[in-house]
């Protein structure tokens, strides 16, 4: 084994062996999946049964609203006073004014804010009842109405892409997720590189090491070793997420009778719609969910997945190398973690800008800020991922090539720069380092 491989191996194995690595590996995806699940769950879940009293002065709704296990409707002809409502067992009061057919307005009073699910249910139930009432009053046949009623679905097409529907925003969102992952990893593991360098400096083991290997080898060994830890962790996360995901998908399949995930989702949606229409119910959330799933599958098919993954790897490594070498230089320049503050800011600011710009890129992937930030190496790893996912980057291969070339050039430059700061810094103790001082180190002779 060459010396640099030895260093890489040590950096890798000592970190992977730590209990914290195992914990993070297991907890990472659990936290992520669990976090999402928790948000969804909490958003949908009610803290028990909602007793909804409908003050139905015009007698339009009484006994016409569909109840669920958790949502019970009660009807009153006269308004309840605030204090009466407070004292009552009802949790929500819906005030339907007598002119509701004209002004289309209801008022909902609550003790605790009802969940979105509950709000949607109340709205859709009342809407459909009022609609039917209006049809009756206006002497319109419900079937005719259904034919007339227009729910406009806008399908976007990119003229350059042979008439395929485009879901720019969704794709941009996926790109943003990849960009965010890069951002996260650069920080997580860049800081690990910095800590590792500081540990060697504080331990004074560094002087022994660099009497055996060149400082640059030691620095690169650490950077590469930590990158491998990051990649290993990432691959494990992907593997665990896939296992958890397929388990989760299995649950979804069971609950939807195995139909929703089939390729002919639109058909299923149509069937569902039909059934629901028969029941006189509007297209409800279940159908919407399955349509969204259909879109997801379509987008997934359309995404250049292989390219995204390859370029993700490229930008991940490029961005990581760029920043971690700066983190290494920072760790070498200071004596303790508290001294890192002054150098931390210039390193973190570009990354935070990158995340902001990437966010705007989701809505406006063609803006000038997005363009420049996807070219400039300090922000390109995050921002370019959005353009790659939307396919925008592939329509401008020159820009993509420029961005990649600049990133390579820049990380070679920063590692060179960091190497020069590093080899002086690791032997410098008890000195408060200024920017000017760092500048001087660049020109010290090896």
């Amino acid at each position: 084994m060459g010396k640099i491989q030895l260093i890489i191996w040590r950096e890798f194995i000592t970190r992977v062996r730590k209990p914290s690595f195992l914990i993070m590996t297991i907890l990472g995806p659990l936290l992520m999946v669990g976090g999402i699940a928790l948000v969804v769950f909490l958003g949908m879940q009610e803290g028990g049964i909602q007793n909804i009293v409908v003050v139905d002065k015009a007698q339009l709704l009484t006994n016409k609203l569909k109840e669920t296990d958790d949502l019970k409707f009660f009807y009153e002809k006269t308004e309840l006073s605030d204090s009466a409502f407070k004292a009552s067992p009802y949790t929500v009061m819906v005030d339907v004014n007598p002119l509701v057919l004209e002004n289309n307005t209801i008022q909902v009073f609550y003790k605790n804010l009802p969940s979105l699910n509950t709000q949607n249910h109340i709205t859709s139930q009342i809407e459909s009842v009022l609609e039917r009432e209006k049809l009756r009053v206006n002497n319109v046949d419900p079937d005719t109405y259904r034919r007339i009623k227009t729910a406009l679905k806008v399908q976007l097409f990119d003229i350059d892409k042979q008439g395929k529907r485009s879901y720019e925003q969704l794709k941009a969102g996926i790109g943003f997720a990849f960009g965010y992952l890069i951002f996260l990893f650069i920080f997580l593991y860049g800081v690990q590189v910095m800590r590792g360098v500081m540990e060697e400096k504080q331990n004074r083991v560094v002087e022994v090491l660099i009497s055996s290997v060149k400082p640059f080898q030691l620095m690169m060994g650490k950077i590469v070793g930590v990158a491998m830890v990051g990649l290993a962790q990432f691959l494990l996360w992907v593997a665990i997420s896939l296992i958890l995901g397929s388990f989760g998908m299995g649950l979804v399949k069971d609950s939807m009778g195995g139909a929703a995930l089939a390729k002919d989702v639109p058909q299923v949606t149509a069937q569902l719609q039909e059934q629901l229409d028969k029941q006189g119910v509007k297209l409800n959330e279940t159908a919407e969910t399955s349509e969204q799933l259909g879109v997801m599958l379509e987008v997934w098919d359309e995404l250049p997945v292989t390219w995204i993954l390859l370029l993700f790897l490229f930008y991940f490594l490029g961005g990581y190398l760029l920043y971690s070498s700066l983190f290494a230089a920072m760790g070498a320049a200071v004596d303790s973690e508290t001294d890192t503050q002054q150098f931390m800011l210039p390193v973190t600011v570009p990354m935070i800008i990158a995340i902001f710009i990437a966010q705007t890129a989701v809505y406006n992937p063609d803006g000038p800020a997005v363009f420049w930030c996807s070219i400039i190496p300090f922000t390109s790893p995050v921002v370019m991922m959005v353009r790659i996912a939307t396919g925008n980057a592939f329509s401008h291969p020159g820009e993509l090539a420029l961005s990649m070339a600049l990133l390579i050039g820049m990380f070679i430059f920063t590692t060179w720069l960091a190497g020069r700061i590093y080899r002086t810094g690791i032997l410098m103790y008890g000195k408060k380092v200024s920017w000017k001082e760092l500048g001087k180190w660049l020109f010290y002779k090896g």
């Binding site: 331990n203 022994v208 009497s211 032997l427 001087k440 010290y444 090896g446």
Partner: protein, 313 residues
């Protein structure tokens, strides 16, 4: 074996070494002395190729040192340090392999050392579980494990109890006898006198003294002798006359000792001839200054050139 030629090193405006030259002979224990901040550590870092000189060169066995030559060196820095969280055996193996040893060789040699020093039980302990002295023993082993041709030890005895210091001392002597060249940087003048055959003393970025310890001590001797005699001290003092100056008054009694500094141009023979009639001389020995005194005299001299005239190469 190691030849340092006209090394200049500056850090920004600070001149750390200014035209430093010296020669370390093969198989000898060589003392690198100097007050704090004189440039010893900088010189050692240049020899170990941790930093490079601005000008001048380091020759190893007659050839300019190359990057590959670091495997021929073993270096124990003054500030000791090991990875605290790593196990002793694993860490020693890692450091040895960084010096170019194969895993098998390193394991075999490490086990030998651990058994010889009866510390085999430490192998699977983490360094943070060891005491400071124990960690230093481990570090000493990792410094010499790859059997370097030149071992550079910076304050090797600091932090050791007398027993362990003796252990290290005997290992240094053993390795030197086996032909290893040892460069010892220390402030402990006792161990310099005991161990070193040659020294170089650096002060204010220059070599101010360089050569075999015996010669240097002789050069610093100021013609002072201790003369033991029996007889009348007053008569002895009178008899010295123009040949010598009495530094201490001899103690009264049957057995006296006088410290006599020869006056200019006088020889010991003349002093003895003059005093023989006055007293019964029982012993004579030259008073040679210790390294401690030489160090202080060389360093406190405001003009180092006057001391080093003709001494530096």
């Amino acid at each position: 074996m190691l030849r340092i030629e006209n090394i200049v090193k500056r850090y920004g405006d600070h001149l750390a070494l200014d035209g430093v030259s010296m020669e370390v002979p093969q198989g000898k224990i060589f003392g690198l002395l100097g007050p704090n901040g004189a440039g010893k550590t900088t010189l050692i870092r240049i020899i170990t190729r941790i930093t490079g000189p601005d000008s001048g060169q380091v020759l190893l066995n007659g050839k300019p040192m190359t990057a590959a030559d670091v495997e021929l060196l073993g270096y124990l820095p003054e500030e000791r340090g090991l990875y605290k969280k790593m196990k002793v055996g694993e860490q020693a193996l890692y450091l040895a392999r960084l010096k170019g040893l194969s895993k098998q060789d390193a394991t075999v040699r490490l086990k030998e050392w651990f058994e010889r020093w009866e510390i085999a039980g430490w192998w699977n302990k983490k360094v943070e579980e060891l005491s400071k002295g124990m960690a230093q023993k481990v570090q000493f082993i990792t410094t010499v494990l790859h059997r370097p041709e030149l071992i550079i030890l910076d304050e090797p005895f600091s932090g050791f109890d007398p027993i362990n210091a003796e252990l290290i001392r005997s290992e240094i002597i053993r390795m030197s006898k086996e032909g290893t060249t040892v460069m010892l940087s220390t402030h402990n003048m006792g161990s310099v006198e005991e161990l070193c055959e040659e020294i170089a003393l650096i002060d204010r970025n220059h070599v101010v003294l360089h050569g075999p310890v015996k010669e240097i001590r002789k050069r610093f001797s100021n013609a002072t002798f201790r003369i033991d005699f029996t007889g009348n001290p007053v008569a002895f003092a009178d008899a010295l006359a123009f040949h010598g100056e009495l530094l201490d008054h001899p103690v009264d009694g049957t057995q006296c000792t006088a410290r006599v500094k020869l006056l200019h141009g006088a020889t010991l023979n003349q002093v003895l001839a003059a005093t023989l009639p006055a007293a019964q001389i029982t012993g004579v020995r030259e008073e040679v200054p210790g390294m401690h005194e030489i160090f202080i005299r060389a360093v406190s001299d405001k003009d180092p050139q006057s001391v080093s005239t003709g001494n530096t190469e």
